[in-house]
């Protein structure tokens, strides 16, 4: 495109998500940004560039997490098995949330549990807190109970959502696993159970081996694969989910290997109402501002005046 149709300054980068207005479509993903304030250590990072920050996966009681090693670089990605290390929902609500800069961006919880009761209780606790939404992690591959065991079965997934639904008026966003056959069916069941949004996708399960010790590199044996390696899987799963989600007017938080504006634009076209950044931040903590700059230029060059106009414009 040679002609710039819309000046970049007039482009509306805000996003709508499950009744929330996000100042940008960029969402920092759970488990990659601690409990909200870690990235502001880096000079040049600004919460003003961020639509929402999703806090580390939180359970009812504190969890120590898995033994090291917990992370390892693999081709075009990485494995992690943190094991949901967190100080418990009450601690997060009493000692962390009051200190977060809620005027700079929104913070969302990431709820986890081993039982339906635990998920429900975590939702009830966060309902009375300043988080503006609750993401339901039914897709964590790194814990023994709950997690992906709920997420791989449509009926179980829906029961988790249904257990949490009466506990909160805040938007519930169900985070779907790619480690299953029919993501669209799981999405449909979660929406019918009351999910207001979908996160697509969580990590794929993988492993790496140390050939000297002949042991798995990751302490937990397997880990979740993230980063550019999973991007094509993520796009396909979003594409599959989009048909169901759009029918019910349910937004998708697309994620899985977004490392550039180009990646983000692909995710938007596939149907991502918001764009999640995880591993890409490890590569470059100043990625958000770079993506927004290039996104503006792209939208302007293509005659679009807002991010929202780009979402779900895939032609097949």
């Amino acid at each position: 495109m040679s002609e710039q149709l819309n000046p970049p300054t007039q482009i509306d980068l805000s996003a709508s998500f499950a009744g929330l207005k996000l100042q940008t479509p960029l969402v920092l993903l759970s488990g990659c940004v601690g409990f909200g304030e870690e990235y502001t250590r880096v000079e040049g990072f600004s919460n003003a560039d961020i639509g929402a920050v999703i806090l580390k996966g939180t359970t009812l009681e504190p969890r120590m997490g898995n033994a090291p090693h917990r992370v390892y670089e693999t081709p075009s990605g990485m494995l992690n098995a943190i094991g949901l290390q967190n100080p418990g929902a009450r601690h997060v609500i009493e000692h962390i949330l009051p200190h977060l800069p809620h005027h700079e961006t929104q913070f969302w919880a990431n709820a986890n549990g081993s039982t339906l009761e635990e998920y429900a209780e975590v939702a009830r606790l966060f309902d009375d807190s300043p988080v503006t939404a609750i993401e339901i992690n039914i897709s964590c591959p790194n814990v023994k109970a709950g997690g992906v065991h709920f997420g791989n079965n449509a009926e179980m997934a829906a029961r988790v959502v249904a257990a949490m639904r009466p506990m909160t008026k805040k938007p519930l966003i169900t985070k779907l696993s790619p480690n299953n056959a029919d993501i669209a069916e799981i999405a449909r069941c979660c929406i019918e159970a009351g999910s207001d949004g979908l996160s697509v996708i969580n990590t794929l399960v993988g492993m790496a081996i140390d050939i000297e010790s002949r042991r798995p590199v990751i302490g937990n044996i397997s880990g979740g694969l993230s980063g550019p390696a999973i991007k094509p899987v993520a796009l396909w799963k979003i594409h599959q989910t989009r048909a169901v989600a759009a029918k019910h007017d349910i937004p998708i938080l697309g994620q899985g290997g977004i490392c550039s504006a180009h990646d983000g634009i692909e995710f938007a076209i596939a149907g991502s109402d918001a764009l999640g950044l995880g591993t890409g931040l490890f590569y470059d903590p100043l990625l958000p501002a770079k993506i927004l700059g290039e996104l503006r230029t792209y939208l302007g060059n293509h005659g679009l005046s807002s991010y929202r106009e780009l979402v779900g414009t895939l032609e097949v």
Partner: protein, 296 residues
């Protein structure tokens, strides 16, 4: 304390992302490399014990933590010494003069060097030597400091006979790191390889001979700082228990974000509330030895 118990005092804008230009690259035997890079902000703010997190190549975008050996705040340079052991450090070793390295720094809780009435005994092994050089440089002329360095391959420094006598150290253990000598800091070397002028054995044993020869009153005001391979840190922790001299240990662990976001880099700690996993990148890399059950 747990992952979430950060103190919420402002730590904003304390880490800088710089495109660090490689100014010089020197190769030493044993796959050891010294890179001098231009990174003005890191050079200005770095404290001994801190590290930088480097993107070594486009093909391996997850950054690698490398400890800082020396800075020159006026010239804006940072010196790094590392061994090409893994794929990441091998790629880093191939970077040439003029290359730009995306670098985050300075990162981590540094050594506690605040009490200048203390005697600092620095024990570094292999790629754990660089933070000792930085700490010694920082303390030179301000506090009593002595450095013990161990290596199984040739030391990547110029060496010369020491002008300082040290209690408990045999006369034939005479070689010292020249740059430290000229800053007035005594040092001695250890190796299991038969190297002229070096103590033959493990570096914590050499440090032990020195500590035991100190007068009781001197030992009481002494503290050890150490960085190196795990067996060496175990020996330093043992020495700490035997002599009653406290030790601060600098640890390594696989890292992803390097700035506290992922909890990927943890070590087990024992604290008032029980056992926790703490992040090596921002809660460390320096921990008091007695806080680490692994070294108890």
């Amino acid at each position: 304390m747990s992952l979430a118990d950060n103190d919420f005092t402002p730590h904003r804008n304390t880490i800088f992302e710089e495109q660090a230009e490689v100014l010089a690259r020197v190769e030493h035997p044993g796959d050891q490399y010294i890179l001098r890079v231009k990174a003005a902000k890191t050079a200005q703010h770095a404290q001994p014990g801190q590290f930088v997190h480097i993107r070594v190549s486009e093909a391996r975008p997850l950054r690698r933590p490398i400890s800082i050996m020396l800075t020159n705040p006026e010239k804006g340079t940072v010196d790094l010494l590392f061994k090409a052991i893994g794929e990441g450090t091998r790629e880093l070793s191939q970077r040439k003069q003029g290359d730009l390295l995306p670098m985050l720094g300075p990162i981590g809780r540094p050594f506690d060097l605040s009490d200048l009435n203390k005697r600092y005994v620095l024990i570094g092994g292999g790629v754990g030597i660089p933070p000792m050089i930085f700490a010694a440089d920082h303390l030179a002329g301000k506090a009593d400091v002595v450095v013990f360095a161990g290596s199984e391959v040739a030391f990547p420094f110029s060496l010369r006979p020491s002008q300082f006598l040290l209690p408990g150290i045999a006369g034939n253990t005479i070689l010292a790191i020249a740059s430290l000598e000229s800053r007035g800091v005594a040092s001695r070397l250890a190796s299991n390889a038969d190297m002229y002028g070096c103590y033959q054995g493990h570096v914590p044993n050499l440090a032990g001979e020195y500590l035991r020869a100190l007068k009781e009153s001197e030992r009481a005001r002494t503290v050890m700082l150490s960085c190196g391979p795990h067996p060496m840190l175990h020996a330093v922790a043992r020495l700490s228990r035997e002599t009653g001299v406290a030790a601060q240990l600098s640890l390594e662990e696989h890292m992803a974000c390097g700035i506290g976001g992922c909890a990927g880099c943890v070590v087990k700690t024992k604290e008032a509330g029980g056992e926790y996993y703490r992040r090596v990148c921002v809660d460390g890399p320096v921990f008091p030895a007695e806080m680490l059950p692994e070294f108890a």
